[in-house]
Amino acid sequence: MANQQPNSGNPRVDIEYRRKKSAEEMKHQVITFALMIFLTIVAFVAAGYEGFSGWFIVPFILILAIVQVIFQLYYFMHMSHKGHEAPALFLYSGALVGFITIIAFLTVIWW
């Protein structure tokens, strides 16, 4: 188990490089944060606006929600970093299984 140290614990990594990385990271996070707030406002506006029918609003909000989830995962939960391939794989597989289940229930049982 001793060989399983995550590389972040490695004392030899270049501090300068790390700083630059963090600064970049910070910038991304601020931008996504702003975007997420914007998308949330858009969702509220869409729901509140009289002119749209439900057939537009519901799928539209769902799409916004998916985008938000992706932002959350990649920019705040660091899935864009290296070493997250296995969690990503399992996350997507799980989402796929859930999705198939829902589709099947909608089409086979309730349609």
Binding site: S93, I100, T101
Partner: protein, 622 residues
Amino acid sequence: MSTLAQKKGFGAVLWDYLTTVDHKKIAILYLIAGGFFFLLGGLEAMFIRIQLAVPNNDFVSAGLYNEILTMHGTTMIFLAAMPLIFAFMNAVMPLQIGARDVAFPFLNSLGFWLFFFGGVFLNLSWFLGGAPDAGWTSYASLSIASEGHGIDFYALGLQISGAGTLIGGINFLVTIINMRAPGMTYMRMPMFTWATFVTSALILFAFPALTVGLFLLIFDRMFGSNFFDPAMGGNTIIWEHFFWIFGHPEVYILVLPAFGIFSEIFAIFSRKRLFGYSSMVFATVLIGFLGFMVWAHHMFTTGMGPIANAIFAVATMAIAVPTGIKIFNWLFTMWGGSITFTTPMLWAVAFIPSFVAGGVTGVMLASAAQDYQYHDSYFVVAHFHYVIVGGVVFALFAGAHLYWPKMFGTMLNEFLGKITFVLFFIGFHLTFFIQHFLGLWGMPRRIFTFLPGQGLETANMVSTVGAFFMAAAVIIMLINIVITSVKNEKVGNDPWGDGRTLEWAIPSPPPFYNFKQLPLVRGLDAYWLEKMEGKKGMSPAEPLGDIHMPNNSFIPFVISLGLFVAAFGAMYRAEHSWGIPVLIFGMLITLGSMFVRSVKDDHGYHIHKEDLEDNNDKGVKA
């Protein structure tokens, strides 16, 4: 080994096993508990066959027959086959990847005890007013109507043991992802480890569907909800979907590790590298993937309509392709190899035609239009016994003989092993082959008796005779185990002589820390590679150093016990005033022990370098 071999009193050994977090001991626990439930399920099978031996039999009543049938299926799938597979995964997989234990030893123990208490709970139904009687599939239209507490035992018991399985699956996944020895890349992992990996992923995705289904069932039966009651706006088909979304992956959860065990056996006893290793990996992953797309082939006759039926029929047939890849790879592995017919190899060779027969009837069932003829007849019973017995149970027998020396340090008797094989092989085909025809002649499945003069007598009698052959085989196996354990002739690292993977490079049984120094893996079949270069063992990947080990813990036992107690409270809540207090008390035990676990720091201990060196002098090589 010197420190291990000391004689201990019975109490000390018992306490050791109750608190152990060592994957090798947990494997033995799974083996014993799973073996016990296998005998229980086997006994139930014998009762079924005795009842059906002659027409109009009254060996058991119709109601009791339903209970025996249900408990046979449920026990065999959840409490025998799964735990026995977990036994081998626990015993072998960490050794195969060169790890000192699984990623979460504590959770490993928790998984076992949850399974165990769930199984005990389910079986206590026999003594507490009757077992579940709606079939192992427990379709809601039957199970909601079933009187007494049988179905409650089913739902609560499976919920508890299912949690254990889920925990076990996640643990294996993390272990394989994180704890491989230096050099052990994914594409150098032994086939059994790959099978464990894919199986654990299937567990992770399939069991939640069962959990949800069982919760809905529990709520419908015990707390007055109406998910499955059409009269109240529910839909009984929902249960069937949930059950099979879990249920079909479950059959692959069982059979993929069996494939893994056979892959090891074919390579070892043909003295050849597994043919088409990368295509084997690919096929395993593909089967795992497709396994999730086919569940509705169990529901062709529920009226899903032609489009859904066609989609699921084609998807099901597609699974035959990766399965075929595997079959051919095994044949090519044997081709030109120097084959030795040891007991494990006999099981492996017999597995191929037996399993293929089950696969062929599977494809027949998969064509939806035909399935209207076969459905709910003995043809289906024949199909799934060919795949489950011919695939999974054969693998469990083969694995038991193959890994017995690794788990217990002594070899099962080969002569008795072969007798077991011959009796079981004959008995198996005698029992189930004829059932294809029984089905085609119109015998429905899940009936407690049949009438004379319909042409079903002889075939049913033949089937029953076959069952006795299998029972005899199991008894001989038990005798073999007793004799072997009493003799207890110790064997060395590589008792079969042709071991290829890491587990054969260390003593049998391995020391509790497995590897003194983590091995350096230089390719597929790591140990074989070193042997071919004339080396005695693996080259170490690290200098000798302190080894960090987890402490034993009694907490997993207590957590599981708490849920066991709470389940009684939940079940009797409506008719006894003590129900609610017992429910709360049980939950308090569980949550309390979880709390203790969280706040109490347990850093484990270290085996010091000096002690390891010490061992070396005394010749651990065995």
